[in-house]
């Protein structure tokens, strides 16, 4: 109730700034959690109340089938006016002329609200196409109770991770280092190590970095940890959600994941004794986190760009954004949000936002989904012991080079 009245206040405060708009707007919303649908419906209702004559239709789609639905919609020419997409998909939309430049839809004032670094992933060849709606980074969650029981300290480097994991395995019933080996972002889990060893996903010369010494070293690190029993069992069947669940149950002492785990822990196992640390560093002390944004993209064929702009202006007000960001467990995307006490004063979130300075994003290149799949498959073969890291990664790099070449 308190948030509702605050929102209404924000609404009234913003009302004079809203242009008089009319019409129907269709918005494809990707579903993060059970709160996503109700949040956007609520937003839509508030907007409609402030702008009589408008009808905002929210179409909620689960993430797993989002790309499939967008594809079928676009192929039949009946896509919505705007949609939430993974920013890594943006380049395909832009290349096909499907995305409208953000400056065509919203004013500079709206664009200025965003944290500048977060606009980078959505900017292609100097033009901004996607407005970040969700942002997150990754950090190392550590179960302090297990570590102290094992007599280990929270690790800052990969070597310390191995030591701590060994101590946990020897001194407790839990697994040491949680390794995600299945489903989306399996390749990302590898990139933390890759980057900390000085490697790169795509080299400066435009070829795949998977066959570099750094990459092979990183994969070997993970494989050795699996073989030594330092990770949870069955990594290739464990998705990110599975490893997180294990962490929540106290079955594994370390896992690298996003801020929303903190929300989940607070809701489900509030007594869990844990802390958040930067991603483990390599021998040179280098560590990089993976930054992700999801973007709202307005379609070029939309007939309601003005209404879309008005709705986006409304949706990116600090109050509305704060509710979304804290509700879903993301990082603030606008500077006004970031200044709010619930974000500025939260120590866990501070770790994440601090890491954003060193964040790397997925390369915005066409064919990225396929490249990620090839990388994940190669890693799974390594984890299962079916191929050596060198063999698997070299083969994968060759395949990826083929794709990179054909897409030039």
């Amino acid at each position: 109730m308190k948030t509702l009245s605050l929102s209404l206040l924000a609404l009234l405060a913003a009302a004079p700034a809203l242009a008089q708009v009319e019409g129907t707007l269709r918005f494809t919303v990707a579903e993060y959690s059970s709160a996503t649908g109700p949040y956007f419906e609520d937003l839509a209702t508030q907007f409609e109340a402030a702008n009589p004559g408008t009808d905002i239709q929210i179409e909620v789609v689960p993430w797993d089938v989002l790309l499939q639905k967008l594809t079928t919609d676009i192929s039949a020419g009946v896509n919505a006016d705007m949609a939430i997409i993974g920013t890594r998909w943006l380049i395909d939309f832009v290349n096909e002329g499907l995305a409208a430049p953000a400056s065509d839809v919203v004013s500079q004032e709206v664009l200025d609200r965003f944290v500048p670094a977060l606009l980078e992933p959505g900017t292609l060849e100097g033009t901004l196409y996607g407005l970040p709606v969700a942002a997150s980074a990754r950090a190392l969650y550590v179960n302090d109770a297990l570590l102290s029981q094992a007599g280990a300290a929270a690790p800052a480097t990969w070597d310390e991770v191995r030591t701590a994991a060994q101590a946990v395995v020897d001194g407790t019933d839990a697994a040491g280092f949680g390794l995600q080996g299945n489903e989306i972002e399996t390749d990302v889990y590898f990139y933390y190590a890759l980057w900390s060893f000085g490697g790169d996903i795509i080299e400066a010369d435009g070829t795949s970095g998977l066959d570099s010494p750094a990459a092979i070293e990183a994969a070997t690190l993970y494989k050795e940890m699996i073989d030594a029993g330092l990770t949870q069992e069955g990594a290739t069947a464990m998705s990110r959600e599975d490893v997180q669940n294990l962490f929540k149950q106290g079955g594994v002492s370390m896992v690298i994941t996003a801020p929303f785990l903190a929300n989940q822990i607070a809701a489900e196992v509030p007594d869990l004794d844990y802390s958040v640390h930067p991603v483990p560093a390599g021998p040179t002390g280098a560590n990089f986190t993976y930054g992700v944004t999801d973007s709202i993209v307005v379609f070029e064929n939309s007939q309601n760009k003005e209404l879309a702009g008005a709705f986006l202006d409304f949706a990116f007000q600090p109050e509305a954004r704060a509710r979304f960001t804290s509700g879903e467990g993301f990082l603030p995307v606008t500077t006004a949000e970031a200044a709010l006490p619930e974000f500025a004063d939260d120590p866990t979130l501070q770790v994440f936002t601090g890491l954003m300075a060193n964040a790397r994003f997925a390369p915005t290149i066409p064919g990225w989904e396929e490249i990620a799949q090839i990388t994940s498959d190669a890693l799974q073969r390594v984890y299962l012991g079916e191929e050596t890291p060198e063999a698997a990664l070299t083969a994968a790099a060759a395949e990826i080079d083929g794709i990179l070449q054909s897409n030039q």
Partner: protein, 292 residues
């Protein structure tokens, strides 16, 4: 009199039209997309002939998936028939609680295939799955088996699930077949002093043949194209080691955005099924002519 001769066509027309429309139009679309230069959003930009098809045929993943699909299909269809026939025989004779037994056997049909697969995936979880905890509780297992972590344990599980969900349909078909065998044939065989096994061989089996055939054909078609089981449990992984043609097709089309290739692949799959059905029916009819 022409009205009389037209009658069957008039009767058949609505049903046939309905069934065809839903298939012909999409099939035509598949041809267009499959032979077209199409972007990842299904927008056709030009004509590319057999390029997509050749790209698919050259892909090693395609060959692996093809082989696996054959194993998948034969394994499940054979397993289903071999289990369903005895089950149908048992359920055909009256016994206490037969009604309940029948309902239990039919239950998998009542659940959406996607949800069945999701529940199994949940139960097959390595650390927190209930199959492992049940097997450990019963003393069958010492530690946890990571069922879905590698193809050597995942694929057999997927085959098992495939058989379990195909049994209700097949048992129904067989029960119908058994029930259609007139009583007097059994009595005649008994009167002539035939043993139950001989009666089974000379009376039941031949009369059940058409039902077995339809069960084989329909099961083959459904199993060949069955997407949810593998997709929900392993997504075709790890490292594409449990991919069958239809899951490989989904990745091609909706993940990698190679819709042209996906469409060409779907036409190949369609041709394979068509070929199988035609061959099978021809073989059966040849056998029937021999027996006659």
């Amino acid at each position: 009199m022409t009205r009389r001769r037209l009658l069957p066509y008039l009767l058949a027309a609505p049903g046939l039209a309905l069934a065809l429309v839903i298939v012909l139009w999409p099939l035509w679309q598949l041809l267009v997309i499959g032979t077209g230069d199409v972007n990842r959003f299904g927008q056709v930009r030009g004509f590319s002939g057999a390029d997509n098809l050749l790209a698919v045929l050259a892909d090693p993943d395609f060959h692996a998936a093809l082989g696996r699909t054959l194993v998948w299909t034969v394994g499940i269809v054979l397993g289903t028939i071999l289990v369903s026939f005895p089950v149908a025989l048992i359920l055909d004779r009256d016994f206490h609680g037969r009604g309940i037994a029948r309902v239990i056997v039919m239950l998998p049909w009542a659940v959406s295939l996607t949800m069945t697969a999701i529940v199994w995936r949940w139960a097959l979880q390595g650390e927190s799955g209930m199959l492992n905890s049940a097997l450990r509780g019963l003393g069958v297992l010492d530690g946890n088996v990571q069922w879905l972590a590698q193809a050597s344990t995942a694929f057999p599980m997927q085959l098992l699930i495939g058989v379990l969900v195909s049994i209700p349909f097949t048992v129904t078909v067989f029960l119908g077949g058994l029930a259609s065998i007139p009583e007097d044939l059994h009595e005649a065989a008994a009167l002539e002093g035939a043993s139950p096994w001989a009666a089974f061989r000379t009376v039941t089996l031949p009369l059940m043949a058409p039902f077995v055939n339809i069960a084989v054909i329909l099961n083959t078609i459904y199993v060949f194209n069955s997407f949810p089981i593998i997709w929900a449990t392993t997504g075709g992984g790890p490292a594409s080691s449990t991919d069958i043609l239809v899951t490989y097709l989904y990745k091609l089309g909706f993940r990698f955005g190679r819709l042209g290739d996906a469409a060409a692949l779907s036409l190949v799959m369609f041709a394979l099924l068509l070929l199988f059905t035609v061959l099978y029916v021809w073989l059966v009819e040849r056998q029937q002519r021999r027996d006659a």
